[in-house]
């Protein structure tokens, strides 16, 4: 990867971090609110199914995570494992695709 690509990834990492800062703040409140009194699938889905606003919110959350996490792991791979080059970039990209696919599948199962 060139310096230019690394710079692009750095910017993407920061932009996604800013989006995630907002998402995680909301998510932390949601978690604490949701677990009070225990969880059941019916109770969760009754609240979430068909809710377009939360569907949009969690879709953005998932996509920001799919950008953010692989770039972070990619940097850790280089600094801690000395793993650089195309194999590392390919794995990071595959992880991004996996997170986006599994994440959107989860969002649709809960909110669509």
């Amino acid at each position: 990867m060139s310096y230019r690509s690394d710079t692009t990834l750095w910017i993407l990492q920061r932009v996604s971090a800013a989006v995630l800062a907002l998402c995680v703040a909301v998510h932390l409140f949601t978690i604490v609110y949701a677990v009070r009194g225990g969880l059941s699938a019916a109770e969760i889905l009754a609240r979430t199914k068909g809710n377009q606003a939360w569907l949009a919110f969690y879709s953005i959350f998932v996509l920001a995570v799919a950008v953010h996490a692989p770039i972070g792991l990619r940097a850790v791979a280089a600094e801690w494992l000395g793993w650089r080059g195309r194999s590392r970039d390919a794995c990071a990209f595959l992880f991004a695709a996996l997170l986006a696919w599994m994440g959107m599948r989860a969002v649709l199962a809960v909110f669509a």
Binding site: R14, V32, G72, G103, A106
Partner: protein, 100 residues
């Protein structure tokens, strides 16, 4: 202090990244989720959930610190930002423990 916060940021990030596929898989089960939720009632799993919330709050707090240092140029606030990150983790950990 800053080095410890940076290390906490990194380790919490790795742990969260590894947890995410499992999280998404469980939520993707939809209506069949109850079997999974029953499994999460075990004390050890509850403790792990608490750990995950704390990891998320830690990564969030440490990340806000990085953004503040890089974009707001708050270099002289290093210690205060680290303390704020720690306070945030404590608050989230307590709130989740009380809600459980």
């Amino acid at each position: 202090m800053s080095r410890h916060v940076a290390l906490a940021h990194r380790i919490s990030g790795i742990a969260l990244a590894l947890f995410l596929p499992l999280h998404f898989w469980a939520l993707g089960l939809g209506l069949q989720m109850d079997g999974f939720l029953a499994w999460t009632e075990q004390p050890l799993v509850k403790a792990a959930e608490w750990g995950l919330v704390v990891l998320l709050a830690a990564h969030f707090g440490c990340g806000l610190r990085v953004l503040a240092i890089e974009f707001l140029d708050w270099h002289e606030w290093q210690k205060s930002l680290a303390a704020a990150a720690a306070a945030l983790v404590l608050a989230a950990g307590l709130a989740f423990a009380l809600a459980l």
